[in-house]
C-alpha cells in the first residue's frame, strides 16, 4: 500500500528531524515545517478521495462504495500516524503539559473514546449488511434458475421482503421497519407458540446491532459530543500544537460521521446538522466538499429511513424494489422481454453481493485496526501526560 510506505518514510524523517532538533537546541522552524506538512498531507489525502470518478458505473470506486470507504478509513489511519509523529515522537512531556494544550488533549482523548464506540457500532452495522448480502444471495439463486417458475419467484419474494425490511430500517424507532411484510418467514402460527411471534418477526432485520451497542447509545449524539468542544485555535495557539490536534479532531469526526451515514447504525436522527468546519482552511476543502455531498444525500434518505448511504446498499434497495414489483406481478409464463430485464437486475444484484463478499470483511477488519490504533495512541498520550505529573497517592 503506497499510503503506508509514505507513512513510514515520513515517520523516519520526523524522528531523524527531532533528533537533530534536540541536538540543535530546539529549532522552532523545523516544528513549524512539520505542522505545515501535516496540514498539506491531510488536504492532499482527502483531495485524492474526492477525485474518484463520480459517474458510476463499473469503474473505479464509486463515492461511498465499500472500496471507497476502505480508502477513507485508510486516510484516517495515515493521518493518525502522522499526527502521532508530530505530537508525540521525541517530545518532552513538559511541552504538552502547558495549558491550553493539556486541556485540548484531554478533550481529544474523550473524542477518541467516542471514536472507539462508533467503530464498534459501525462494525456491527457491517455485520447487518452481511445479513442483507445473504438474503440477496437467496434472491439471486432463486431468480437465476431457468426457466423461472412460480415456485422460485415466490422463494425470491420471501427473501426480498426480508431484505427490504432490513434495508429500509428506521433507526429512530429502534429497528422497526416500515414494511408491513417484514418477517423473514413465518408469522401465521406464531400465535400458538407463546411469545415466539415477536422473536420471529424481528428475525432477519438488523437485530444484530443491538448485540454490540448499548441500548440508549446514539451515533448522532456521539458525533454531536465529539464536535461540542471543537474550537478553532486562535492567536498564538494557531501556530503551535493546538493546530494538529484541531485538524486531527476534525478528520476523526468527519470520517466517523461519513461511516455512520453510510453504514447502518443505531440512532442517527439529525446527523446532517452536527458539525461545521470553517472554510478558511486549505486542508479542509475536500472534507467540506464531501461533507456537503453526503449531507445532501443524507437529507434525502433520512426521510425515507434507509439503512445507509453505502452505494451498494442503495443499489441493492433499488434492485430489490424493482424485483419485488416483478415478483408481485409475475404470471407464468413471463414475457421474454421482462425476463431479460430481470436477468440483468439479478446479474447486478449478484455483482453487488460479490463486492460485499470481497469487501465487507476487510472493511470490518480495517475498522478494527483503527480501533486498536486509537487505543494505542490514547495510551501513549496518557502516558505522556502522566509522566509530567506526580502520581496520585494510592490511599
Amino acid at each position: 500500500m503506497p499510503a503506508t510506505e509514505h507513512q513510514q518514510s515520513f515517520l523516519g524523517r520526523i524522528s531523524i528531524r527531532r533528533n537533530q532538533v534536540i541536538a540543535m537546541d530546539g529549532n522552532h522552524e523545523q516544528e513549524l515545517e512539520d505542522l505545515e506538512l501535516f496540514q498539506r498531507h491531510t488536504g492532499d489525502r482527502f483531495a485524492d478521495l474526492l477525485s474518484f470518478p463520480e459517474d458510476y458505473p463499473f469503474t473505479g470506486e464509486p463515492f461511498l462504495s465499500i472500496s471507497w470507504l476502505r480508502k477513507l478509513v485508510d486516510v484516517l489511519l495515515c493521518c493518525e500516524a502522522e499526527f502521532k509523529a508530530v505530537l508525540i515522537m521525541g517530545r518532552d512531556p513538559s511541552q504538552i503539559l502547558k495549558p491550553p494544550l493539556d486541556r485540548l488533549l484531554i478533550d481529544f482523548m474523550e473524542r477518541a473514546v467516542k471514536v472507539l464506540d462508533i467503530c464498534n457500532a459501525v462494525s456491527s452495522g457491517v455485520d447487518s449488511i452481511r445479513q442483507c448480502q445473504k438474503l440477496a444471495e437467496i434472491v439471486v439463486s432463486a431468480l437465476e434458475q431457468k426457466p423461472i417458475g412460480d415456485g422460485q419467484v415466490k422463494r425470491s419474494r420471501k427473501a426480498l421482503s426480508a431484505l427490504m425490511s432490513a434495508l429500509t430500517i428506521d433507526d429512530k424507532e429502534n429497528n422497526h421497519s416500515r414494511y408491513a411484510e417484514r418477517t423473514w418467514s413465518f408469522g401465521r402460527r406464531g400465535s400458538n407458540s407463546g411469545g415466539n411471534h415477536k422473536d420471529r418477526a424481528t428475525h432477519g432485520s438488523f437485530r444484530s446491532s443491538s448485540m454490540v451497542v448499548a441500548k440508549n447509545w446514539s451515533a448522532a449524539k456521539q458525533i454531536q459530543a465529539m464536535c461540542s468542544n471543537l474550537a478553532v485555535p486562535r492567536g498564538g495557539e494557531s501556530t503551535g500544537l493546538a493546530q494538529p490536534v484541531y485538524i486531527m479532531s476534525n478528520v476523526m469526526v468527519f470520517v466517523m460521521w461519513a461511516l455512520v451515514a453510510a453504514i447502518p447504525c443505531q440512532e442517527r436522527s439529525g446527523l446532517s446538522t452536527h458539525f461545521q468546519i470553517p472554510k478558511q482552511f486549505v486542508w479542509a476543502h475536500s472534507i467540506i466538499g464531501m461533507q456537503e455531498k453526503i449531507g445532501e444525500e443524507w437529507k434525502k434518505k433520512e426521510k425515507k429511513g434507509s439503512a445507509g448511504l453505502l452505494e451498494e446498499i442503495q443499489r441493492m434497495e433499488k434492485l430489490g424494489q424493482s424485483l419485488i414489483e416483478f415478483a408481485d406481478g409475475f404470471q407464468f409464463p413471463a414475457e421474454a422481454e421482462k425476463l431479460e430485464e430481470v436477468a440483468a437486475r439479478v446479474a447486478e444484484l449478484a455483482e453487488i453481493c460479490q463486492r460485499m463478499e470481497e469487501g465487507l470483511m476487510p472493511l470490518q477488519q480495517q475498522i478494527r485496526e483503527l480501533f486498536h490504533r486509537i487505543v494505542r495512541s490514547r495510551t501513549e498520550i496518557l502516558d505522556l501526560l502522566d509522566n509530567g505529573k506526580a502520581s496520585q497517592p494510592i490511599i
Binding site: 473514546v113 467516542k114 472507539l116 464506540d117 464498534n120 462494525s123 456491527s124 455485520d127 445473504k134 438474503l135 444471495e137 437467496i138 439463486s141 426457466p147 417458475g149 412460480d150 415456485g151 422460485q152 415466490k154 422463494r155 420471501k158 427473501a159 423473514w184 418467514s185 413465518f186 401465521r188 402460527r189 400458538n192 407458540s193 415466539n196 422473536d199 420471529r200 428475525h203 432477519g204 437485530r207 444484530s208 443491538s210 448485540m211 454490540v212 451497542v213 448499548a214 441500548k215 447509545w217 456521539q222 407464468f332 409464463p333 470483511m361 477488519q365 478494527r368 480501533f371 487505543v375 490514547r378 495510551t379 496518557l382 506526580a390 502520581s391 496520585q392 497517592p393 494510592i394 490511599i395
Partner: protein
C-alpha cells in the same frame, strides 16, 4: 394422457437407436490394429459413456402418469398442512415423517423431470413448475417448523446446571485499609488448577429432537434450500446466545460508559464478565459448536460457517468490553481484576483455538490474543505503578500514636493477595528487571529456600517492601519525639514481618528476610528504650552536685511526662506490647529499686512519689493508646 406418454417413449427410442449406432461404430474402429494407445483409450472411455447413457435412458421409461400421481400425492400432503393451524412436528412422529416423505417425493419427481428433455410448453415442464411451487410451499413450512423446534426445545443453561466445578469467587477486601485484618484474611483458594481435559459440553437443544432437525436439514439441502436453512438456523441460534448473555447479566455498555463507571460497579461488571466469558466460551460455545456439527456435520464445512456466524458477534462484544477495561486507568485496586481477566482468557486459550480453528477465523483468534496481551500489559503496568505509588505516598503530619500506617496495611494486604496470582505474575514479570534490595543467596540456609523466593515475583515483592520501609523511615522523621519515631517503625516493621510470616508471603520473602526484619524492629525497640529511658534513669544517678530531693523531683517529673505522653502511644500487637513493657520494666525498675534501696535511710520517703510496684504497674499503661491521668496529679 396416452399421447404424451407415447411422445416421450418415441424420443427415448430415437436416442436409443443413435446410441446403438454409435456403439457399433466404436466397435468397428476398435478392430483397427494400427491404433495408438491414446486413441484406443479414448474409444474405451467413449464406449463406457454410451453404456451409461443407455442405463439412464432405461430409467426414464417411467410411466409419466406415475410421476404425476406421485406429485399429486405429495402435493396433497403438503397442502393438507397449509390449512392446519397446528405444527407438524408437534403432531407426532408419524405426521412428521410422512411430511418429510412427501417432500422427498417432490424432490424425486423434480429430479426425474429434470432428466427429461423439455420443450417450452410440454407437459413435463408444466409438471416441473407445479412441483417447484409445492416445493416452495413445503420449504417455507419446514423453515417455520425448524424455527419452532429450535425455540420450543431450547434447554436453558442455568449457570448452576453447568457441569464444571464453579470457580470459587475470589473475595478480598477492596479497601485494604480495614483495621480488622481478619476481613482480608483467608482470601480463599481460587480455581487455579489450570485446564482439565474434561469437555464441558451440554445439550443446548433437547437431544431427542436432533434427528428431527437433521431430517429437515437433509430435505432442505437436497432441495437446494441450504441458504434458507442456514439463515433460519443462524438467526435462531444467535438469538439464543444473546438471550443467554443477558441471563448471565451481561449488559451492553459502551466504552464511554465503561470508562465512566464507579469502581464498585465496574468491579462488579468485571466479575460478571469473567464468569460469563468462561461459561460462554468453555461451555456454551463448545456446546453450540457440537450442536452445529450434529446437525450440519454431513454437509461439508457449513457447520463451522454457521457456528462462526452464530458466535462471532457475541465473542467480539465480550472482547470489546475487555478492551475497554484494559484501557485503564491503572489504579492499584484494578490489578486484581486485570489478573482475573488475564487468567480467565489465558485459561481459555486452548478452547478458543479449538472453537475457531479454521484459517478464516484467524480474525477472532487474533482479537482474543491481542486482548490477552493487552490485559497482561495492563496488569504489569498497574503492578509497577503500585510500586511507584508506594514511594510517592507522602505525609505532612506524623501518623498519630505511632501506630501502623494505613500505607503499610495496604501494601502488605495487597501483596498478600497477589500471592494467589503468583504463577501469572511470574510469567508477566519474567523479563522485568528489578533491583532486589534483599537478594537471597543460593547458599543461604539450604533447603528452606523455596523457588518462590527467587522468582521474579519474590524479587519484586521484596523491592516493594523495601520501598515501603524507606517511605516509613521518611514518615518516622516527621515525629518531633524521636522515641515515637522508633515506636512507629517498630510497629510497622513488626506488622510487615507478621504478615509475611503468617501467609504465603513467607515463601516469597524467605527466612533470611524474616530474620533480618525481626532484628530490625527489635533494634527500634532498643532504640526507643535508649531514647526515652536512658535519660530518665540517668536522673537517679548521684552526680555529686544535685541533691537527692532534686533528683527525686526531676525523675518523677520526667517519669510523669513519659507516662502522660506514652500512654497515648499505641502498640496494637499485644505480644509486642507485652515484650516492650517487660523490657522497659527490666531497664527501669531494677535501677529504681537500687535507687530506693540506696536512699531509704536518707529519709527520702517524703521525696519518693512512687513505689517500685506502683511504677511497674504504671509501665503497663504505656502503649495502650488511651491517655491516663496521673493518680496523683500533684506535681513538684
Amino acid at each position: 394422457m396416452p399421447g404424451c406418454q407415447s411422445m416421450t417413449t418415441t424420443t427415448c427410442e430415437g436416442e436409443q437407436h443413435i446410441i446403438a449406432a454409435a456403439q457399433h461404430i466404436l466397435k468397428l474402429l476398435g478392430e483397427n490394429k494400427n491404433l495408438t494407445g491414446d486413441f484406443r483409450r479414448a474409444l474405451t472411455e467413449l464406449d463406457s459413456h454410451l453404456s451409461a447413457m443407455t442405463i439412464i435412458n432405461e430409467s426414464k421409461r417411467w410411466r409419466f402418469s406415475e410421476i404425476e400421481e406421485q406429485l399429486k400425492c405429495a402435493e396433497r400432503e403438503v397442502m393438507r398442512w397449509e390449512s392446519n393451524p397446528s405444527l407438524i412436528w408437534d403432531s407426532g412422529p408419524t405426521e412428521a415423517s410422512e411430511y418429510i416423505q412427501a417432500v422427498n417425493e417432490i424432490h424425486t419427481v423434480m429430479e426425474t423431470l429434470g432428466g427429461l428433455p423439455m420443450n417450452d410448453h410440454g407437459r413435463p415442464k408444466e409438471l416441473a413448475f407445479r412441483a417447484q411451487c409445492v416445493q416452495q410451499i413445503a420449504m417455507s413450512r419446514l423453515e417455520e417448523e425448524l424455527y419452532h423446534i429450535l425455540v420450543q426445545h431450547k434447554q436453558s443453561l442455568e449457570p448452576k446446571n453447568i457441569y464444571f466445578p464453579p470457580s470459587v469467587d475470589f473475595l478480598y477486601d477492596e479497601s485494604f485499609v480495614s483495621v480488622e485484618d481478619e476481613i482480608v484474611e483467608d482470601t480463599s483458594e481460587r480455581d487455579n488448577n489450570g485446564r482439565e481435559s474434561t469437555e464441558y459440553t451440554v445439550d443446548l437443544i433437547d437431544p431427542l429432537v436432533i434427528p428431527d432437525i437433521k431430517s429437515i436439514a437433509s430435505v432442505m439441502f437436497a432441495s437446494g434450500y441450504d441458504r434458507e436453512f442456514c439463515e433460519a438456523f443462524i438467526g435462531n441460534r444467535k438469538e439464543a446466545l444473546d438471550e443467554h448473555l443477558s441471563n448471565l447479566e451481561i449488559q451492553k455498555l459502551s466504552i464511554d460508559d465503561v470508562l465512566k463507571l464507579e469502581w464498585d460497579t465496574l468491579s462488579c461488571e468485571i466479575k460478571k464478565w469473567v464468569r460469563a466469558v468462561k461459561i460462554i466460551i468453555r461451555v456454551y460455545l463448545a456446546s453450540e459448536k457440537r450442536f452445529c456439527n450434529q446437525i450440519l456435520g454431513d454437509f461439508g464445512s457449513l457447520d463451522s460457517y454457521c457456528f462462526v456466524e452464530i458466535s462471532r458477534v457475541s465473542v467480539l462484544y465480550l472482547l470489546s468490553f475487555g478492551e475497554a477495561i484494559a484501557m485503564g486507568p491503572y489504579n492499584p485496586e484494578k490489578l486484581f481484576r486485570f489478573l482475573d481477566m488475564y487468567e480467565v482468557l489465558a485459561d481459555l486459550h486452548l478452547d478458543m483455538e479449538g472453537l475457531f480453528s479454521e484459517a478464516a477465523n484467524s480474525f477472532v483468534k487474533s482479537e482474543f490474543h491481542d486482548l490477552l496481551r493487552r490485559l497482561g500489559e495492563s496488569a504489569s503496568t498497574t503492578f509497577f505503578k503500585f510500586g511507584n505509588a508506594i514511594a510517592l505516598d507522602a505525609s505532612i503530619h506524623p501518623f498519630p500514636r505511632g501506630e501502623i500506617h494505613p500505607l503499610t496495611r495496604y501494601v502488605m494486604n495487597y501483596i498478600k493477595t497477589l500471592t494467589a496470582y503468583c504463577d501469572t505474575l511470574n510469567l508477566l514479570l519474567k523479563d522485568r528487571d528489578v533491583d532486589d534490595p534483599n537478594p537471597v543467596l543460593e547458599t543461604d540456609n539450604g533447603q528452606d529456600i523455596c523457588t518462590s523466593t527467587f522468582s521474579p515475583m519474590g524479587c519484586h515483592l521484596r523491592s516493594f517492601t523495601s520501598t515501603l520501609e524507606s517511605n516509613l523511615i521518611c514518615k518516622s522523621k516527621l515525629y518531633k519525639d524521636g522515641s515515637l519515631g522508633h515506636i512507629f517503625l517498630m510497629n510497622n516493621i513488626h506488622y510487615m514481618v507478621q504478615k509475611v510470616k503468617g501467609s504465603e508471603l513467607r515463601l516469597f520473602f524467605g527466612d533470611e528476610w524474616i530474620r533480618k526484619h525481626n532484628w530490625k524492629f527489635q533494634q527500634h525497640a532498643t532504640s526507643y528504650e535508649r531514647a526515652t529511658w536512658s535519660v530518665v534513669v540517668s536522673l537517679l544517678r548521684d552526680d555529686g552536685r544535685t541533691s537527692l530531693k532534686e533528683r527525686c523531683r526531676r525523675f518523677s517529673n520526667a517519669f510523669d511526662d513519659v507516662y502522660k505522653i506514652q500512654t497515648q502511644w499505641r502498640v496494637p500487637d499485644l505480644h509486642l506490647r507485652d515484650d516492650l513493657q517487660i523490657s522497659t520494666s527490666q531497664k527501669v525498675i531494677p535501677a529504681y529499686r537500687v535507687f530506693l534501696g540506696m536512699n531509704d535511710k536518707n529519709g527520702s520517703d517524703k521525696y519518693i512519689k512512687y513505689t517500685s510496684d506502683d511504677m511497674e504497674k504504671m509501665l503497663l499503661d504505656l502503649f495502650v493508646g488511651s491517655p491516663r491521668s496521673l493518680r496523683n496529679s500533684h506535681r513538684w
